[in-house]
């Protein structure tokens, strides 16, 4: 078996926007690399799975809210939160948690109002993951 591709430890690239003090980062690159023991092949696989699975989970969440199925909405938001925590995506996790809590309390109108924020955060994390993979592949 070929040795796993390793990524040299490095700070975020110069192209990555600076993170203001106190701001929750969109991703935790160091945590991601530590999670996969710097195995870039594995990281690529995980990102690809997340990009696909998060789209499916978001669709389930939208359907749960639309069809007034609080249990389904809560579970989809919870699974999204769980998945993004694998990448240190604390901002998305916070947004998903807000939707999860609203759905758990059967406040689906509130969950619907919170959904655009979660969708925007997920779009950002997907972009950041894709950008990260491009950088490390280069």
């Amino acid at each position: 078996m070929a040795p796993a591709e390793k990524f040299p430890w490095s700070p975020a690239s110069a192209a990555e926007p600076a993170i203001a003090e106190g701001e929750v980062p969109i991703l935790d690159r160091q945590a991601m690399l530590a999670t996969v023991e710097q195995d870039l092949g594995l990281l690529r696989e995980l990102v690809e799975i997340f990009l696909s699975a998060s789209a499916a989970q978001l669709a389930e969440l939208r359907a749960g809210i639309r069809e007034r199925d609080a249990d389904a909405a809560e579970r989809a938001a919870h699974t999204l939160r769980s998945a993004v925590l694998n990448f240190g995506g604390l901002r998305v996790a916070q947004a998903a948690r807000a939707v999860e809590v609203a759905a758990r309390a059967n406040r689906l109108d509130q969950a619907r109002r919170l959904l655009p924020q979660l969708e925007a955060e997920i779009a950002q994390v997907c972009q950041a993951l894709s950008r990260f993979l491009s950088e490390v592949a280069g």
């Binding site: 699975a53 919870h78 769980s82 998945a83 925590l85």
Partner: protein, 136 residues
């Protein structure tokens, strides 16, 4: 060790399967509560890594069923969960899992717990054919 990973988070199951297999374990995956329960009964794993919030019923129900079934009640269970609900955490603790790890999972911590279970098994402290007697 034959390990069942029961979680609907496809990212985490892929990660755990990859890393646990690299450590020499044989890993099976269940995506929902029903699959998890059937897999436990069919395969009698040496260890279950059990998520709580899954489709088809919660991991708490799987854990309760497992503890109440003489044939499988001794199978060690490590709960892995992102839940922050105190009532759910209380329900989990009442079933006396071997460990409860909060997500995001720190793999080194998980590996340590698994090693401890392996040592316990070597010493005869864990035997899946012996009914579970509850926590310490």
């Amino acid at each position: 060790m034959r390990i069942l990973v029961a979680d609907d988070d496809a990212v985490l199951t892929h990660l755990l399967k990859h890393r646990l297999t690299a450590l020499g374990h044989e890993v099976q995956v269940a995506r929902d509560a029903l699959q998890a329960w059937h897999s436990v009964q069919r395969n009698l794993p040496d260890l279950v890594l059990l998520d709580i919030n899954m489709p088809g019923g919660t991991g708490v129900v799987v854990l309760q069923r497992l503890r109440n079934n003489l044939r499988v009640s001794g199978v060690p269970v490590i709960v892995i969960t992102a839940t922050e609900e105190e009532s759910t955490l209380q329900q989990i603790q009442e079933q006396h899992p071997e460990a409860l790890l909060r997500k995001p999972i720190q793999f080194e911590e998980l590996a340590l717990v698994i090693n401890r279970l392996l040592v316990d098994r070597e010493l005869g402290k864990v035997d899946r054919l012996v009914p579970h007697r509850g926590g310490p």
